[in-house]
Each structure stands twice: as C-alpha cells, then as structure tokens.
Symmetry: C3
C-alpha cells in the first residue's frame, strides 16, 4: 500500500492564519520569477554537451553529499551506495536510499527531494522501500528523454543565469561552447563562470606547485615569481570576465586577511612556493591574497565572495578512500572582526567594491556580520549557507541579521549546489521562507504589506542581480 | 486567600490552534509510555533499602541545586536553607523557599515542582508563603507512608529502567541488592549503573591517587602501572556490565581527545600519577583516556557518553564551605571539531560503536555537533542538557540540530537528575515539547502527521532504548 | 501621492490571536507607567540650559549613528549627511535620509523614527523622498516652540528619572544647574549622572595621562601615585553620588578582571602611567581596576555596570576623519566565565553589592550570563544592549536567559541612547516585547496571567528602580 505524494501549496508558510494569508499573497507575486543563481557548482559540461543524464542513482544519489552523508552516519556503507564504487548496482544503491528515506524527516533534503520527485518527475506516491523500483524506473526512463536533457531542464526551470565555479587553471572550454551556442542562436541559456583561485592561492592545497606551473602555462606569466604570479591572476581574471564571470570566490579555512608590504609579500611568496611550507606561512599567504584579490576586484569590477570557516576533510580515513566533498567538511567557530580588519582598513570604505561575506558560524550573524555589513560600504552578507541553507537556518539568518544590517545589505539567495534538479526547489524554499518572515513582520505591524511585497521581489530576484552585477 | 493549583492539559503545546490540535493528538499516544531513564543521578540506596524519605525540605529542597542556587542568587543564605547545615529547622527552610517561589516564574523548576506538588502529592493550592506549612505537612506526612517509598514511586511512575551513575571505585552493593530483589521476585524494578571513571581518569580530581589505590584493591590489578591501570578499567567495566551497565559517562572540562602511542601514554601516566601534575599533562591524560575508553567500548559494547564543557566549582568560597554540586558549575564555550578529531580518526567510522555527545554550549548544535553526528557513524547527539533541559532549551536543540542530523542521530531524553520525584515531570516536559515541535513541522507541511506520530514514539521511547542498548 | 503614517495599537504583539489578547491586557497596565531611564547618553546641558533644539537634521540625523551608519553602509557619503561637516545644507542632508528611508525596513530605527514622527511631531504621512521637505519644515518649526524645549519634552514623556553618563573629569556643572532648579522649584525633572571612569582607567584611552592630570586637579589628590589615584576615585565617586549618581559604568574591550596585591598593583600603575604602555599591561590594569571598583561600590553603594565586548573604532580611516561613536564599533566574542572569576572570587558572594552585566555576544546569554547571575548574589543581568536592543534581540534575551536566571535577576530596560526624542519609543518597544513574551508563557500555560501582570509592571518599572537604587 503506497501513500500519495503531494506538495502542499502552503508548505513552509507560518501556520498562524493571519501570517499565512499574508505569506500567500506575497508568495503569489514571486513564485514564478526567473531564477538567478549567482553561486553554485553545476557542471558546465552538462550545458555544453547537453548529453542525457544516466540513471536515478547517478543523478540524484552519487553526487549529493547531503544524501549519502546522512545514510553513512547511520551505518550505511558508502561502497554499497555506489560512492566511488562502479561495481555497485545502481538499482541496489537506490533501494538502500529508499529504505532509509525516513532518516531525512525534518531535513531540507527531504523537501528538495520530494519536489524533484513530484514536480520534476511527476511521481505521485511517496518514496520508500516499496516504491524504490517504481521510482528508479520512472526517473531513469525520463532521464533518457529529450525533455530531461540539461538545456531543456534549464529552460523549464526558468533559469535566467547560472554561475558555475572554476579555478584559474580551468580552460573554460565548456563555457566557450555555451557562449558559441548563445551567439549562434542554438541555445539562449546564460551559463557563466566564477573565479575560484583556492588551488593556486592556498599553499596547502593538493598539488599547489603543479597548479602554479599550469597557471604559468595558461597565463603566459611566470607564476613562480611574485610579480608574475600577480600578473597571472590579472590575466586569468580578465579571461574569466570575458567568459562571463562577474565574481570571484574564496573558500578559506578562516577569514584571516593581511596587508603585507611588497617586500614582505615577495619573501613570503618565496617561502610558500618552496619546500616545507609552515602552516603559519600558508595562513598568512592566504590572508594576504584576500587583500590582493580585493584590490584586483576594485580594478576589474569582479564581485568578491568569501566563504570561510569549513574544516575540510575532517575524516582522514574517508578522504583517503573516497576523496574530497564527501560530507566530511565540518564548520568551525569563525572570527570576522579581527580577521577582516587588515582588508577593511585598506578597502572597506570603497563603495565601488562589493565583498560578500558568508558564514558557517551562525553566532557571527548578529554579533559580527550584521554590524560589519551595516557599516562598511564594501561589505554585503551572503545568504544562509550550506548546513544553514534550510527553513530554520534561513529564518535564523533573517531574524539575526535584519535588525542591524537591514534587507538591503543582503544579496538574495544562492543555491550553491551541484544537485541541478533541486535548484528550483531550493529557490522555492528560500522564497517561501522569506515571504513567511516578511509576513510575520507585517502581521506584527513592523512593516506595511506594500513594503513587504517590494521586499519579496527584491529578495527573490533584484538583490542577487544587483549585488552580483548580472 | 489561596489560589488553586492546576496543571493545564495543553501546557507547553504551541498556542496556535492548528499546531495545538496536532500536538494534542501526538501527545495522546506518548503520554503514558513507560519511562526509559538511561542517564541520571538517583541514589541506588533508595531502591535497595526502600526506606521512607524524610521531610519536604530534605527531599525537595536540600538536594536540588536548581532550587537553592536561584534562592542564593537573590541573597537567601544557604545556611538558612539548611544546605550542609543540620542546625537549620527544615520547616523554616521550607518557608523561605515558599516565600521566594515567585523567583522561579518562567523557569523549568517551577513546572517540575508544580507537577510534583499537584500530581505526586495531590495538592490543589498554589505554593506561596501562606501555604508553606500546609505544603510542608502534607508532603512530610505522605512521605511517611508506604505509597511514597522509593520502589512504590518507581512503579507508580512507570519507570521501565533507570540508570544511576557510579565511579569505578564504587562497590555497587545497592545494585546487587536490587538485582537480588529482581531475581527473588521481591521487586521487578530495573535499576542499572553507568561507568563514570572521572575520579580515576582525571588527575585533577580530589584524591586522585587515593582513588587509584582503591581501584587497585577492587580490581586486583596494579593501577599505578599503565598496563595495570588499563587492566583495572577493563576489570571494573566488566563488573559494571554484569551489574547492568550499558554505558559509560565522561564529564571532562573540555572535549579534548588524544591518541598517544603506548610509550607516550606510559610516560604521561607516570607523570600524572606522580607529584605536581601540570594542567597540560592532566588535560592530555584525560584526552588520551577518552580515546582509550572508546576502544574499550568497541570491545565490550558499552555505549560511551561525553559530557564536556562545565567549569566545575567556579565559586571557590562556596566550594570550601559547601562542597561540590551546589549550583556553581558554569558552562563554557566548547570546541568539538578540533577536539574530537584524534578520537574520531581512530574510531569515528566504526558503526558498531556508539558515542553520545552532550553540550552546554548551544552554539555547537548547528555549527559542530549536528554536522559531526550527521556524518560519523559512531556519533549520536544527547538531548539538551542541564541548563538547557527546559522548554526553550529543548526547542532550540530540535530547531538547531534536526535539519542537519535528522531525528535518528539523536537518542531521546535524559532526565539527568537526582530529584527523583521530578522524573515523570521532566519526561513529560520533553514529550510535550517534542510533540509541539513535530506539530509545527506538520502544520507547516514539512512532515506528514503519520510520520510525526511515529517520531513522537521514537523520541519518547524507542530511540533511548536503542541508543543505550536497553 | 503620500501614504498615511499610523502606529498600529497591536504593533509588536504576537499575531497569534490568543497570545495577542493576553498581551493587550498586560500592556494596558504598563503602557502609561513613568519612564525610569537608569543608563543613557543624553546631554545634561539640554536640561540645564533648556535651549531649543535646532533643525530636523541636527536633532534626528547628525547625532544618531544608528541612522547614518546604515546610510553609509549603502554608499551615502557622511559629508553629504552633514556628519562633522558644517558646510552641508541640513535640508539636503535630510532629503538624503528621506530618499533612503526604505533601507531601515525591518530595523528598530524605523520603528523608533516612526514613533517620533507620528507621536512626538504628529505627522500623519509616511517619510519618503516626496515628504522630505514637509517633514523638515514641520519638525524644524516645532523645535522652535516652547513645547519642544528639553524640559517640556522630559515632562511630556513622563520621565521619572534619567541618568546621563560622565567621566570623573567632568565638572557636572549642568547637573548642578538642574539640581538648583529642582531645589528652587523651577523644574522638577530628576536628571542624575553615572560614574564612567574609562578615560582615567584605560591606559589606551586618548589623552590618558592628561586625564590623570585633570583628575588630580579636580580631586586635590595626586593621581599619578597609586594611593593618590585610588583616593581620587573615592573623592570623585563621592562627588558624583552627591550629584545624584547611583551607579558606575565600565566600557571595557573584554570582561577581564584581576585581583592584584597592592605591591603588584602599584608596580603596574607605575608602568601604565609611564611611556610606552604595553597592551598586556593596559589590559591587566583595566582588569584590576574592575575589582577595585567593585570594592569601592561595596563601600559607597554605587551599583556597578560592566559593558564589555565592543571593538571600538574598527574603521581607522573613519575614526581619523570623523572621530568616535560614528557607528564603527563592532561586537566581539566575549568570555565571562574565566574573565570574571577573579572579581567574583573576591566579591561575588556579597549580597549587598550589585554588579549588572551586559553583553554584545548573545551566545553568552544562556551559556554564561544566566548561569552566573542565577548563582552569584552580586550579579544581575542588564537588558539586551545596543545592536540587540530591538524586537528580535529582546525576544532572544528573554528566551535565552529566563529559564536559568529567572526574571528577578534582570533589571528592566535601559534605553542607552543619546537620541532623546526616541526614549519613549524605545521603552514602549521594550514593554510591548516583554508583554508579548509573557503572553506566550501564559498562552502555553507556563505562567498564570496574574503572575504575568505582576511581572509586566516589574519589568517595565519596578526592577529598574530597585536594581539601580533609584
């Protein structure tokens, strides 16, 4: 006996009748706005080649660490789930997922997945052990059709623009293909890149020196001298901008910044490109480079994003066997007030510069980030991120940030995902939560409804376009 | 003129009508479930001797540091309250409590106490100066009756199993008496112990060396050599398991763990068992022993609990005069991400191992604990603890933890109390708050009601039994 | 086309109908209670000279860093707003404010301002670009009338007592004028001072040594010897008390305290009054002086306030051009548990002493401050402060603090403002939020309504009077 799967039209709205009525009205005006996705991790090859996706497990289970980390936490083997294990039968892996779907109760994954099942694939029974095969077949069959090719889904999802994330040593060949398709009238989808220099900025990154060699080759500069290294960045940033990039992104362990003299920087660069880099030197170099990158942003207009505070690859055993991005990155307490001061002393008062700050440490919302963004012209706040990209997480973001930073020092929603099919669901969750938050302000007479209606459109659409210069 | 004392049937449910209706339905199915109390501090002598409790002050005021810490904070003298002062007239102490009962407005103590007064003792007027003597007499008289002996209350409270907490140098003689009573058909109540080795693991514990001597005597091992010390732990753990223990408990100042080589550990052990232990050595030894204990748990199956982050005996003047556990332990900011890594590197991927983490630092819920428990197979999250074992505290726990760790990486409720009569009240508060939280998810269409009904039973009963292997 | 400006009678109450009805009843009894303002930054010269305020920009824009920091964060120039720029046309500055008033949506500034516009000035259209001149003229004209002189507003606002904040080297001449006016029957308003010794306690304060010179002159003691320095404090504290002060206030970077021997203190004093003060010595001296000040409070009965955790003048460029208090002070993570221990070891158990703790780090509410205040007789908790003096901030304060510290270890509301006209609005927000919080407790049957009614009066009026000995 299966149970029906339906998405309630009032989902995620406050259940208080007064607030809910307001939320419904606000949402009605933003539900169908185009999606602006200024930060994410979709694969540009999808849109370049427009090849069909494979089976259900390959699309929805294997790449989604939100899904398999939860299963793993409850003792399900990653091998059995097919993670880095081509020997696993995808249907069997899928069944494991189905049998354990109750683990996701109360999580955003459950909401995103149900949306994908119901809206993207039109399935009308709930996902559980008994329906695992039905799901597997329905999804896998659909994926073989033209309607489920990447470009068709992009159009169907009403994506106005999507940014992927690439490192300076990426050739952006897929973006070139899309650009050509745009120019040739073959397809109108706007797929841009973002400049994420961690692999050539972080001396502790795997293969840092090899990456600098590749950077030299691509830029035609000698990236092993400090001057050449800076020139190489400028060169690649310009190339990325040509390929549509409007932003850079920096995923550092901490928010530390530094502003070294040229002589100090040159000496440090020599040390971190040599053998045996000390952790302190690595941290100082990352810190200095954030300030350098802010300066380049002031020159070339790329919006700067800082994503600090993740302890990457916490589980070494897992990292050795399964690699990066397997759900074992853990947030840490993050200081911004002292850490950002060197950068802000240099560039914080520049109104032409936009630096978007993210956090995995919610304690910084009201204590540090809102006061900083509510003062410095160069700073804005990115949305609730990663683990906090969820109904309760988004509510905490708004309730902790708004009173000091207002709405206009925030930048709309980022889906930040490689789970392409869930993108509309994620934006929909954000719109519903924002409408609910606004509805509460209206119901408590802290805001008028016409203002909330304006804000709903701003939060869903305008702010992202403006902040990211899209 | 006295005021009536009544417990409202809807207490602690959300006041929103839609949510409240759902909460009522969920609660109706869990209200009368047996109590599983896997972690607490009741005195096993109560259940062994089954002697009557004394007077109202002796039972409800003197042992409850939640009560007298609040009175003390407002200038009431501990001597006058009879704390470590046998000269105080218990009736006079009780009157002081009554006169100041308004101080507890808005606190969980007020709710637990009112439940004890109304439900356990059947009193129907409110507690205040004017009713102090009536209360004192009614309670003291009741306590002299058979119906208020410990075993009768245990049965009346529908306790299925209760765990006390003892150190390795405890002889567990009271548990033996209860075990005999169970075996002989005299009484069916299940009272088990838990292995709390702090007095022989923490070199800074009062009388640490004397405790090791006692440990040697009880185990027949030489606890002053590292090998003998480990053997003594194994010996006592086995004995505790025989006496029903299914868990260990570790109350450290921080969550620091370490994984030393045998040679390092042996050298450290020599230092911490010598004179003049340095704070750094003490911390390192505690840290190392957490990893050692996790290894032993993998062998003997005892579930491991870690309770870090309390600054014990913050008030030295009070400690000197009144001793431990007088309400002067204060939570501190606690890191888990770096601190637990050595232990997790060794054992975190063991699905057969269960380590239950607690915190007094709520900022770690969403930032550190939920991400860790939502990834590592060995980790689960204990409930809101101590100061946070309260309606708002429990709500924060659920709303901060669930979206990343789900419900199934949590372990149900712990009452953690020595206030025996309040145990049903505490479990009832937890069940009501959980039903309210689930009702909100249902009312916001984030969960279906049949799922919430399953979860309500899991959170009230099944998860504690499963996690603690009861 | 202008829009009407109205203040909804139910503003800030919960929108749940049941809670709202209770909140309305609770609020009805406290809405018109006199204002007790025990901590703030109004200028005593206003009440001494009773001169008319100038124009709208001068009164409502230039001194309010809540207002211009938000405008600045969005790229509006401080020069154009007239901050430290007498060349700016105040009407033009005011228009800039009006054009950008939407930036304040969702902030407390918006609510305070709307109250000032509607209630203080009787304006009935909303503030926006189109009404900027109407506003400027209406406000500026009103300010020229007798009804808008400081004393008339003080009386109209039903202020029972207001405390300003002065340093030991202030002569308090304005307070003397008010005192004389009181004595002579000219005006009855009670305007007292508070002793804020930071400029002569913090060796890193601008002009610290010059300040000590001035302190010597005013006290007749040699403030460059440690004994004379302490005597000078005693002398000035006595003078402040004569001028009505009932409290001291200490705005330190951290909550660090120390309790040095006389010899240590004397040696430290010699170092910090010499050239080249080290940051560590400066911190230690501030720390020691908190304990010294607590000792003096025990002698002279002045209530002690500690306001730690603000990183002052974070934006050096701005500080150089525009000076202190321009919206660039940023909160930092603040430890209390270790920091306060030296002071508490000496004086924490003194029930005759009142130390009121504030925080800008909300994570300390439930983790540190409520447990400390819920234990130590000398400690009480100040209200949500500065950035957290807002609807959501106040709700977090109550929900995080009450369950451990109760209501009676808190001290009512502080407006802490130099924005005189907003004082009634700020107290009104606090009363409404507190009534809403109490209404939730009543609606969830955690408190009876008669208790909530008592508490509403206590939180709005009685607690501030009692805690500050007013």
């Amino acid at each position: 006996m299966t149970r029906p799967l339906t998405l309630h039209p009032d989902r995620l709205f406050p259940s208080d009748a007064g607030q809910r009525d307001i939320a419904r009205r606000l949402y009605a005006d933003v539900a169908d706005l185009p999606i602006v996705s200024p930060h994410g991790h979709t694969d540009p090859a999808w849109f370049a080649t427009n090849a069909n996706f494979g089976n259900a497990a390959e699309l929805l289970l294997h790449p989604d660490h939100y899904v398999f980390r939860m299963l793993y936490s409850q003792g399900v083997s990653l091998d059995a789930l097919g993670i880095r294990n081509r020997a696993a039968d995808p249907r069997e892996s899928w069944r494991l997922f189905a049998q354990n779907y109750h683990l996701f109760r109360g999580t955003p994954t459950r909401m995103w997945m149900d949306w994908v099942f119901a809206e993207a694939f039109g399935i009308d029974v709930q996902f559980e052990a008994a329906t695992a095969d039905l799901y597997y077949d329905r999804i896998t069959e659909a994926l073989a059709t033209d309607a489920f090719r990447p470009r068709a889904l992009f159009d169907r999802f009403r994506i106005e623009v999507i940014a992927t994330t690439e490192s300076p040593i990426d050739t952006l060949e897929h973006h070139q293909v899309v650009k050509d398709a745009n120019a040739g009238g073959e397809w109108g989808g706007r797929v841009i890149t973002a400049y994420r220099p961690d692999p050539v900025v972080d001396p502790e990154f795997e293969a840092f020196r090899e990456n600098l060699g590749r950077l030299s080759d691509l830029s035609g500069e000698d990236a092993f001298s400090y001057a050449g290294y800076l020139a190489a960045h400028r060169n690649r940033r310009a190339f990325f901008a040509e390929m549509g990039a409007t932003s850079t992104d920096h995923g550092h362990p901490t928010a530390a910044t530094a502003d070294l003299s040229d002589a100090e920087a040159e000496a440090l660069f020599a040390r971190v490109t040599g053998a045996d880099v000390s952790p302190a030197d690595a941290e100082l170099f990352r810190a200095h480079m954030l300030t350098v990158m802010a300066g380049m942003s002031l020159d070339d207009g790329l919006v700067m994003q800082i994503h600090p505070g993740s302890f990457r690859n916490h589980n070494l055993w897992l990292f050795d066997r399964y690699g990066r991005d397997k759900g074992a990155d853990i947030p840490t307490a993050t200081d911004y007030v002292h850490a950002l001061r060197p950068l802000l002393a240099r560039y914080g008062n520049e109104a032409r510069l936009t630096i978007i700050l993210f956090t995995l440490d919610e304690t910084s919302y009201a204590r540090e980030l809102a006061p900083l963004a509510g003062h410095y012209p160069a700073l804005k706040l990115g949305p609730a991120w990663w683990f906090h990209d969820s109904p309760e997480g988004m509510r905490r973001f708004r309730s902790h940030v708004t009173e000091t930073a207002g709405f206009y020092n925030t930048v709309g929603f980022n889906d930040d995902t490689r789970a392409f099919l869930s993108i509309p669901a994620r934006h929909d969750v954000a719109r519903r939560i924002d409408c609910g938050f606004l509805a509460q302000l209206v119901a408590e007479h802290r805001l008028e409804e016409w203002e909330a209606a304006e804000l709903a459109v701003d939060l869903s659409y305008n702010l992202a376009k403006a902040a990211y210069r899209l």
